[in-house]
Symmetry: D3
């Protein structure tokens, strides 16, 4: 249950409506997912967040769109955000993530979690070789 109401199309004021319209046009779908409807309670945060998502996730520059989604899933699983894991796993599949790629993604996320905690517990000093 959200701590804020989910803004419907009917309740959307002009600033919110403009963002919802842009989400629909950019993604080529009529569906506006709950994250944006929850954020819409604060139009300024909605606008800034959508602009950033569009800029970071939209244009293909140096990392392809699927790689960016895999990174998103990895961050979401690591920081323990259930909504984010669900939405970005679905997005990664929509962008072509295969079962084999998903399996490897999980293996890396799990391994990194383990070695991260071991390095923290041991307080391993950074090797000179890794400093620029």
């Amino acid at each position: 249950m959200a701590t804020s109401p989910l803004v419907t199309d009917e309740d959307a004021g002009p600033r919110v409506k403009a963002v919802f319209d842009d989400i629909r046009e950019t993604r080529g779908t009529d569906y506006v997912n709950n994250f944006w409807r929850a954020l819409a309670a604060d139009p300024a945060t909605l606008e800034r967040t959508w602009q950033e998502v569009k800029a970071v996730m939209g244009a293909e520059v140096a990392l392809d769109p699927l790689t960016r989604e895999l990174l998103y899933v990895a961050v979401s699983a690591t920081s323990g955000c259930s909504y984010c894991v669900h939405s970005h796993t679905a997005a990664a599949r929509a962008k072509g993530m295969t079962d084999a790629q998903y399996g490897e993604l999980l293996a890396v996320v799990g391994l990194a979690a383990k070695t991260n905690r071991l390095a923290e517990a041991l307080q391993v000093p950074v090797d000179e070789a890794f400093l620029r």
Copy 2:
């Protein structure tokens, strides 16, 4: 300063020596970094962890080696492990990560951290569309 001594080649017993030798051969370098030297205080954990790293990070199956390193950096930055960030950023550069790719990696990690916390704060319910 590590909470355990870093095991040198001279101090390494046969089980530790065998892992150090395999690290050197697998990576084609004489350098064994501090993480393995700290883990070496417990040969069983050293062996298991190295076997897993070799299996997960070594063979190219569905994700290329650079993508796996990018995922490792993303997890390490998200869980806040300084050693891990340093070592895997260096590894990603060694595997060809460009400055532009690093810039996008950071942009995704930062954006995902932001939207993760917003989704948590708002307790956004998962959309039906994202459930399998």
Copy 3:
């Protein structure tokens, strides 16, 4: 589903009853929320935690009660505790948090999450100017 039973008024022993009574009197409500009912399985932890909440959140000394609730929500969203987000968002609203204040709270939490991860990923050295 809690991992421990929620202690009802009927099941409460004298130590638990004393804390429940103090919660009711201090807050001016008959309602004792689930967190305290779950903690009540261990009366010593219940007593210590309630005493601390009362001391830290109760008396207005240097920060007003609403600011303290906003900090509580910020920490809860950041560490990913669903129950805590719900209960302290409700508490903040009860203490007068407006929609505009909630919107700004979210904006700061999201921004701080983003810059935290960027600073971690970059391992930015602390400026001399920031050290006392």
Copy 4:
């Protein structure tokens, strides 16, 4: 030691220089701290992050600037970002945080961390009363 070089004024290209100039003018100081110099390796992320900081932390709308800095410190301590704790504690002091306020901030951060973990360990179900 940062994983990226800190961009000096001399090395700054036109996009980076424009952000550095705006930071100086907005803050009324010649000092550009290391976070921005580290981010400057990727001008697009530098620009987006600075625009967001300026928008979220700059204008006083519903929460005063000191409250926003206290929230920033709370998130930074909670997510364990050393640089962020140092820089925003310094910023909070510059905006008038007293020792008494800092003491209460710490008390709330510590208390919230404790009750967050207890609520997680107990998996306390959300009270109906806390749902909108």
Copy 5:
């Protein structure tokens, strides 16, 4: 709702079946819990993870099985994994955890969370006495 299907006994291929059989035999129960059924979508990760769980949690060497489960619950509560908290609290109870022990476990987890955040917020320098 899992992001992957839970593999039933009927759907299990030979590699998955071999792990499920070993889980049943090792634990002396016919019940294979959801974690393994979700992991089974990627047989390689299933095999590696089960081998590690068996090796780390199975043989009693220096820490008794109950202590290991308590540590597992402590890590799970700290990193905020609901499934892990439920499954390992149940496992700890099955291995003899008393209500008094559970109460103390919670008290330590809560206290450690609080002092961890205070130490982070204050950036306390490590005492010489604590370095090896």
Copy 6:
């Protein structure tokens, strides 16, 4: 470098001095470590935190002192607090932690970190069998 000054014996006011004296007497050592000296800037938080540490870590009730220190190290490594890892690893050694026990502690912490992230990534539903 701490964000607050470390209070020396000379600078300690009567409330701080009383806590420092109790720390010395309770622990049977003249040494007061940096955590308490940093907390001392706010006597109320110092008093509350020391009382809680004394109550939770002091009396042996259901878990022995070494087990409680192991739990403290596990939480500290998981939440990424360098000071806490150092001080409680030292404390665990002082209470008799052997190298073999430390090795197993690390193995459980690493394994739990891994399976926690896998369970989060897969959003595994809690088995009926694990609910009370």
